[in-house]
Structures are given as structure tokens and as C-alpha cells.
Symmetry: C2
Subunit: 87 residues, 2 copies
């Protein structure tokens, strides 16, 4: 499946969160990663992030898509991420 | 259609960007908005944001979906946005 992950972590944990998420997904903007991921890795990634996060300070939203057939992606302005990964 | 908008603007323009995007979508996390939008409003919103943005400093990614049938949304940790809007 295809996943878009947006995170908002407190400064002291933000680098660790990005490091975990980058093991599974491609970084496309300061707080956004996306990519194809297996169900098993999706669960693994969530567990790692939940271990790190303080649920009273940090936030993650995950959008998952079974198919990309009905979706489109547009990028305006600066490309900030480290990897290219276009739907 | 359903839209997820993630933005990353320089500090001096970030409030204006959020103000524009909130006219059309619901704010769900520091730099993320989502919601149903017409094709006409989608174009209008993009134009307004492009007028404001400095393409060498600011960045927007827009994911649009014709249907939400094949998508899922999960939220971990703190709910930071102003509005509730679950897929």
C-alpha cells in the first residue's frame, strides 16, 4: 500500500522520528514522508514511532491507499525532501 | 474531491498561508489541512497560495482523491488541528 505520513514532534524528538520514518518511507517535505510499504512494515513503523512519541506533545497522521489509481499529487514551490517519489 | 494539503512556509508567510488554506480546508495538524473541495475552489486556492509563496523558500504538496473508498486515515498522539475531519 501507499502511505503519506505527516508528523509534528517536539524539537527534542523530531530527529529521531524522522530517522525512524526514513527507514520505511521517502522524505518529501520537512514533516512529510511517503512511499510504498508492506502491511507488516507499516505496523512495525507505527510501533517504533509510538514508542518514541509523547502523545501529549507529538502528533502523526497517516493516510494509506490501497491503490493510487484515484489519486493525484501536486507539488508547488521548493522541493524540500531528500528523495524524489512521485505518485 | 478530497484534498490533503501539507505546507512548509517561511515564518513570515506561514500565518498568511494558513489563513488562505483554512478558507477552503480543515486544519488537522500544524502544517496539514484536509477536506472536500470543488475543482473550481481547488484552482482558486492554488492561485492564492502561489501568489503568496516564494518558490525558493516555501513548499506545498497537494494530494487529491476522486474517492475515499480506497483510503484510510490514522492519527497517533496529540490532535493538533482546529477541526475534526475524519475520512
Amino acid at each position: 500500500m501507499f502511505v503519506v505520513l505527516v508528523y509534528d514532534f517536539a524539537q527534542k524528538r523530531v530527529n529521531k522520528a524522522l530517522k525512524i520514518a526514513r527507514k520505511y518511507l521517502h522524505w518529501v517535505q520537512n514533516s512529510v514522508l511517503e512511499g510504498e510499504i508492506s502491511d507488516a512494515n507499516y505496523i512495525k513503523m507505527k510501533k517504533e514511532l509510538e514508542m518514541l512519541m509523547n502523545p501529549e506533545e507529538d502528533s502523526i497522521i497517516l493516510y494509506t491507499f490501497r491503490t493510487k489509481k484515484y489519486s493525484k499529487r501536486e507539488e508547488l514551490g521548493l522541493k524540500k525532501g531528500g528523495d524524489e517519489n512521485i505518485i
